[in-house]
């Protein structure tokens, strides 16, 4: 009996080891996706501050490229302004004024993992809630997955759970933009109707069928088209416009969605 006690006392740290490892493994495998996200957002309170520092420092390094991009965007917007002011319609302006874009800074980002997440520095207190679309001057980035009070986690296109309703420019056929891992510069448009006229080089934009994005936000260009004989749909490889590894400022589409539409869609 004594020797057994001795043995237990001498090896008591083994129990601590087993306890800690069990705890870690529960964290690793026991958390379901929602708890995982909760861990992510609660962690954001702490890590958000640090990531913000790093983003601050890094933004200086990227100023030149950023400037160039903004100048280009400026030029493009001016051009559009000119052409639009010619054909200004009152109705159109009314509709646009409902769309409010919140400017947010990307403070953490990844592209190399199987499921990537982006953290931005705007949250519920800035009017950002779950389900809002996120894009930048180049195109679609992702959808807000979880909004904390001051930070939000965005599910980017580069996540296996991401699915965004898109269409081919010039046709009304829609498909869903998904990602199967690997190449961070391309994604796949699935469930495109068989008869859709689409070929390499065509532009893909958002469909506007979900409340996340307004219509016609650029997504990418078609790289190749594959026919799926079983389901009579097309599988379209898309080269994304947005270089996800180089994200600094993004817009969150915080347009109030129509409650009636939400209710109808929610009932599905």
């Amino acid at each position: 009996m004594r020797s057994l006690l001795d043995f237990l006392v001498r090896h008591a740290h083994v129990f601590l080891f087993i306890f800690l490892e069990t705890l870690s493994l529960i964290l690793l495998f026991g958390l379901n996706d929602n708890q995982r996200i909760a861990f992510l957002t609660s962690a954001n309170r702490l890590s958000g501050t640090f990531f913000e520092w790093r983003a601050d420092a890094e933004s200086y390094l990227g100023l030149k490229g950023e400037n160039e991009r903004l100048l280009k965007e400026n030029a493009l917007l001016r051009e559009r302004l000119l052409s639009l002011s010619d054909s200004l319609e009152l109705e159109r302006v009314k509709m646009l004024s409902d769309e409010v874009f919140v400017l947010a800074r990307v403070i953490d980002n990844s592209v190399r993992k199987d499921d990537n997440y982006i953290t931005i520095d705007k949250g519920r207190s800035d009017g950002v809630v779950q389900g809002m679309g996120v894009f930048d001057s180049r195109g679609v980035v992702g959808v807000v997955n979880m909004a904390g009070s001051h930070y939000s986690v965005v599910l980017p296109v580069l996540n296996s759970r991401s699915s965004i309703s898109c269409k081919v420019v010039g046709s009304q056929s829609i498909g869903f933009l998904e990602w199967r891992g690997g190449d961070p510069y391309s994604a796949i448009l699935v469930d495109v109707p068989y008869h859709t006229a689409v070929s390499a080089g065509d532009t893909i934009v958002t469909s506007g069928f979900s409340s996340a994005f307004p219509e016609n936000i650029p997504v990418g260009t078609v790289r190749s088209v594959e026919q799926h004989r079983m389901s009579y749909t097309l599988k379209v490889s898309v080269d994304l416009f947005v270089d996800m590894s180089d994200l600094r400022w993004v817009y969150v589409n915080s347009r109030k969605s129509d409650p009636e539409l939400e209710e109808l869609v929610g009932k599905h």
Partner: protein, 162 residues
């Protein structure tokens, strides 16, 4: 430790050579545990360090599991590479172990820790070639970094007047 954790999460985690190799240099904190520490505090420190890294990288439990394992085996691995039983308190380093054994010690620690890390991370274990490459290359990178730091740290200690 704070410095190491920040170094890891703010800079090192950004490194991903060829998409495979990520140095996990925070292991340095664990390999430098001195022999006067109780097994409990080693385990707890190992766990806390890993968990902190997890908080930043949104990988709950991944680093905690591997660094707790590293903290558990640390005293035995030190003993394995020490020429003879030592009574006094030692911090693993060149002065206490000699360069050769130190290198062996650091390599084995990195190998065990990184194997646990990348195996857990790659579940379901499908692509063995990639997993092995990740383990081997990252182990080498962390090992070289730790050895370089270990050697330079002791050099600067010697220069300091006693």
């Amino acid at each position: 430790m704070t410095g190491l954790v920040l170094l890891q999460v703010l800079f090192l985690n950004r490194i991903s050579l060829f998409g495979y190799v990520t140095p996990l240099f925070y292991l340095w904190f664990i390999v430098r545990f001195d022999s006067s520490m109780s097994r409990y505090s080693m385990l707890l420190w190992g766990f806390v360090t890993g968990l902190l890294i997890d908080v930043f990288t949104a990988t709950p439990g991944l680093n905690a599991t591997s660094s707790t394992l590293a903290a558990m085996i640390q005293p035995s691995v030190v003993k394995l590479f020490l020429a003879k039983e030592r009574r006094e308190v030692i911090i693993p380093g060149r002065n206490t172990m000699g360069t050769g054994p130190l290198a062996g010690y650091l390599f084995l620690m990195a190998l065990v820790h990184h194997s646990a890390y990348f195996l857990l991370r790659s579940i379901p274990l499908e692509d063995w070639l990639v997993i092995t490459a990740k383990i081997v290359l990252s182990t080498l990178l962390t090992f070289i970094a730790m050895l370089a730091v270990a050697l330079s740290v002791e050099k600067s200690n010697q220069r300091r007047p006693a």
